[in-house]
Symmetry: C2
Subunit: 484 residues, 2 copies
Amino acid sequence: MTLSRREVLKLLGAGGTATLATDLLDASAPPEHVPPLQSDVVVVGAGFAGMIAARSLLRAGKKVIVLEARDRVGGRIKAGKIAGQTVDVGGMWVGPTQTRLLDLIKEYGLHTTPQYMAGKNVEQLAGRRWLAEGEDVAMDPPEQKEFDGVFAELDRLSAEIPLDAPWTAPRAEEFDRMTAEDWLVANTKLESVRSFLRAGLRDIYQAETYQMSFLYLLFYIRSGDTMETLFGEKDAAQAFRVVEGLHGVAGKLASELGSAILLETPVRAIAQGPKGVTVHSDKQQWFADHCVVAVPLPLSVRIAYDPPLSPERDALAQHMPMGSVIKWYVAYEKPFWRERGWNGMTNSALPPIAVSFDATPAEGKPGLLAGFIDSPWSLRWTSRPVSDRKKLVVDHLVDLFGPDAAHPIDYEDQNWPAEVWSRGCYGAYMGPGVMTTVGKSIREPQGRVYWAGTETSTKWMGYVEGAIRSGERAAAEVLARYKG
Amino acid sequence: MTLSRREVLKLLGAGGTATLATDLLDASAPPEHVPPLQSDVVVVGAGFAGMIAARSLLRAGKKVIVLEARDRVGGRIKAGKIAGQTVDVGGMWVGPTQTRLLDLIKEYGLHTTPQYMAGKNVEQLAGRRWLAEGEDVAMDPPEQKEFDGVFAELDRLSAEIPLDAPWTAPRAEEFDRMTAEDWLVANTKLESVRSFLRAGLRDIYQAETYQMSFLYLLFYIRSGDTMETLFGEKDAAQAFRVVEGLHGVAGKLASELGSAILLETPVRAIAQGPKGVTVHSDKQQWFADHCVVAVPLPLSVRIAYDPPLSPERDALAQHMPMGSVIKWYVAYEKPFWRERGWNGMTNSALPPIAVSFDATPAEGKPGLLAGFIDSPWSLRWTSRPVSDRKKLVVDHLVDLFGPDAAHPIDYEDQNWPAEVWSRGCYGAYMGPGVMTTVGKSIREPQGRVYWAGTETSTKWMGYVEGAIRSGERAAAEVLARYKG
């Protein structure tokens, strides 16, 4: 079942190394084997959720086909190239409590490396700029006090949220009628603290505080442990990068699944009856006992279901838009910021770019800075030429790092709202009034159709860790059907 | 091109009269003619928007095919039956400034009748209940003063919104960062006024004040003239019913379009190139110069586009969920409320049912009351048995009308969230941060693909009037391409 190096590279899409670029052009070549028409389970989507579901099912002895719309695996994890380096242009970090992902990295013999944090970061509020140490923000004492108070209160409230049923939380109805912004305004006094928190929440969510349900924010925080683990680098969600890239982990998964994965096979319809499911793509049909749909939640309703989905599940997908973000990389001859004792990290309360960080490879050059054009600005910039976005980003870096930042040797960005099979990143979110009306439908199987994808996870929802856990859960649900 | 009576009834789905119910069963019969594979324009959707677009194009000499997924025409206008009466279980009213719809009714020789309002209506707030005259609410003077002030201020603010580009309004950014609820809380003092307004806005929108962008609310108000025209009956959006039903108007349109309409033909994909469009259904393909997509906006992205839609148009659809509502009818031997000088109208600030009204036919019996299980309660009740919903509604009516309401002779409801080709009603809405980021894409053609549907209208958006205007606009845009 293992694939040749060439086949793996094809599955990977953007390839594993710089020297094999010709393989990438080959992605649309027809499959070299005839896919079986009948399997036990069809998995829709070869992101982490789908591949983990398929792996779990294969390891339990089931026949599995994974149908992937794109010409690559990985979903919102994707390889890109800048200045000859292969980098993660989607998800890239792993934190110490993301145990399933850490296990997977270890199992496949891959390696983590701490996010570079040695030195000073640049902090910016409207009209003020200062340097701070490591992940410290070093606000003024009254600001810091209010900031810490908000963190503590959000942690306290989120600790009350039952992760498997947030709609039953003690104050669920009340909190679901509010936006995160409503809560923020009612619980802070200093505009500087508010704007810092808005930028921070925007950056972990890629939606605005006035778009998120406060109940959903609390669920999100608890799902990722605490505010500190979500926002921090050290001992937190942004603690480590994968030396071989998170796309490298995706590649290993794809390699293990081998010919079970069919690329460029968008699923258009899923029909089910008493005997099984029929999954329709543009090319052909597959027959199976069960189906696991592991695509971004809002896109799950772009597949036609027969019989139709429940009204609740359909309404849920309608009410869960994707966050929006463009991830950028800028390359310099060397990481010039390190020479002055800076770590490349910036936190700005001024949109459209809240953060940057050092993504320089282990060899120490080229110097790479990466960051995000944040929602909603990503939507305003998504259709502009790359050269415009390059200017936006480089001007921003010159503003924060000075003239040294003015002469990059390369620029690349990943325009997630334009990527047809993601249509946004990082994940989908809920506005007010969604969780308490149709939230319960999020993992409920629809007959023989089961749901995976990071949005359906209770733990580390929105992260690769959540995707992995969702794939494991969906596989377990399907396997239980065979035992039942 | 005109159809037989039998064919018209088939197009109508639920039929025009009570005596021809057998025709209704025939809706899934195969078409009796072979549809042409080539036309000038393919219209997707045979609601008012699609049928008007098709009619305009046909009258301009173009060859047109209308592809409709359902086994009936009319979209969110639909005929239903209760106690032997054929009624509108979707949109039903027409107002004096809805000039295109009035023209259409006149053109087809159909008739309007005033909404019954003679007598007293029941008003209810938590802990208080009183009778008022006609459409008067008769609150306490301090309440009435604040209520009137809110109406006036909303009218004043909405008058500043440019209907064709609300994202350019003077305070667009500020208002789009707020929910309607945020504005309401900041601009009212009395909880009674707030709850009345929440119920009222819920009832015209079928979404919650905490879910709507305040900018979108202002656009909506201006689109429907003023708060008074939206909320009122006399001289307002709810002034008249159509004697033959709004579904009767849809039937006339379908009759005029005749064999141009193909039922039970869901469109799955639209591909376009330099020479034209190819529209794919499950059955076959159609070729045309242009395509008009006239389906509810959130459902427009369930069609696969090649090339893909712009990121902005896709994000717009992701961020515009449908409102949710279940419309109910309860039939009694006679309109018992009239005998006591009541008009059947109720306004309650207590969910889940904000309003009821008299829908008794001209003959004076059976007595019909109609109303809505409002969003978000419609989502909570959508999958419950009809018998449960009947109990909910009848209990509500008994509470407001007394024991006379306890013995209905019939109950029917239209469960819009469960209707697969609508997935909600009345219309789609925008939460905060949508209008000012991707709102501009709402009518922008995507190459040869044009957009119709009430959500794309600037005037009477969300109403049949808006649907008609959107169809006319889309047809004009397509015709301009032939002239250019």
